[in-house]
């Protein structure tokens, strides 16, 4: 049974390619599995692709927009559901390019038999925030995080990914049914609804530490990462913990130092 990691990266207003290279280096260091990049020619031509065991080129036509650190940015996230057919592995870990693996935790989950695993929560270390708990609506579902997913190739899992595509194609209808904001497509929402339709199909993955787009990475050293967090400017340190770093600008600014941490 082959096992590996798949990362999606399409450059838009932000360079996702270099983030994917860093994420891949960290996966190899801590999880010791091969990594495949799903991307387009333009993104691939701007990075050193030698870190990836294989490259899969697909184009995403529909672009999405979001506000990040006060700026409106365009990005592409519309083909996550295609990973089921694109992955070269029997058991696949899918991660966002801003998901930084600093621990071996996911190894245990890769070694389990569960067919489909997804994050239920993220750990927010800021005590004054609500954390990562997101509910579409008081009368609807708690959101799952498609930031990292582990799946096996089985007919049931294939059905789930087909459902995600169906939900994407009927976005407004499902938005009104499940009462979520349909202004932009979110994989988190689509996977949440698909898992609900498949009746609690998923198993929970461990919660990484979440830093949102307002949080700043202020120091990178082999002792860990130091952050300034939230409106209250809390100072926080993380070591040997997986991190979901939503402040892509900061991630790119610290790319060289973070890359040093990915060296053996």
């Amino acid at each position: 049974m082959t096992c590996g990691c798949v990362i999606f990266a399409y450059d838009g207003d932000i360079a996702y390619g270099p983030q994917a290279v860093l994420a891949s280096r960290l996966v190899k260091k801590h999880l010791d599995i091969p990594v495949t990049l799903i991307t387009d020619i333009a993104t691939a031509s701007a990075i050193d692709c030698s870190i990836f065991e294989s490259m899969i080129y697909t184009n995403v036509n529909d672009s999405n927009k979001r506000r990040l650190a006060g700026k409106e940015i365009a990005f592409k996230n519309g083909n996550r559901h295609s990973v089921y057919h694109l992955t070269p592995y029997d058991r696949t870990l899918v991660i966002d390019s801003d998901f930084l693996v600093f621990s071996t935790r996911l190894k245990e989950y890769l070694n389990s038999n569960y067919d489909f695993m997804i994050c239920e929560n993220m750990k927010d270390l800021n005590p004054s925030r609500q954390g990562s708990h997101v509910r579409f609506d008081p009368a609807s579902l708690d959101m799952l995080w498609a930031t990292n997913i582990i799946f096996n190739k089985t007919p049931e899992v294939e059905a789930l990914f087909d459902l995600v595509e169906h939900i994407k194609d009927n976005w407004r209808w499902y938005g009104s049914l499940y009462k979520f904001d349909t202004r932009r497509f979110r994989n988190d929402y689509a996977f949440t609804v698909a898992c609900h339709m498949m009746v609690d199909f998923h198993t929970a993955l461990p919660s990484p530490v979440l830093f949102n787009d307002q949080d700043q990475l202020i120091k990178v050293s082999d002792q860990g990462l130091s952050w300034i967090v939230g409106m209250e400017n809390f100072l926080i340190k993380t070591t040997d913990q997986d991190v979901h770093m939503m402040n892509k600008f900061d991630l790119l600014d610290n790319l060289d130092k973070l890359t040093e941490l990915s060296n053996d």
Partner: protein, 113 residues
């Protein structure tokens, strides 16, 4: 602002960061205590250790994992060794990390600045 107030605010900030750091270490240790064995996921805790110790002499057993799925454990000795090994490794590291933050008496030292 007088010196006493500045010191009080500095100490309040330190206490806040110390609380966050303690919580972080606790979360980290809890995450590290989850192991995969024979396809199941098990959180290593005192209950699991006590249970395995009780049934170990049976040689093999079906044990419910964290999600209540039945997992056949054919070699309870090997399972116990893995569980205890993980428990000692993680809790010893937790203790070392915890003792280290207790020694860091300033905010800058606490967050490695």
């Amino acid at each position: 602002m007088d010196d006493r107030l500045i010191k009080a605010l500095e100490h309040a900030n330190y206490r806040q960061a110390l609380g966050i750091e303690r919580q972080r270490l606790k979360d980290k240790a809890k995450a590290e205590l989850v192991i995969a064995f024979n396809g199941g996921l098990f959180t290593v805790d005192r209950t699991l250790i006590g249970f395995i110790t009780t049934i170990k002499d049976y040689g093999s057993a079906v044990i419910l994992d964290d999600n209540d799925y039945p997992v056949e454990i054919e070699d309870l000795d090997a399972f116990q060794a893995r569980v205890l090994g993980t428990y000692f490794e993680v809790t010893n590291r937790y203790l070392t990390d915890y003792n280290q933050i207790k020694k860091k008496r300033t905010l800058a030292k606490l967050v490695d600045l």
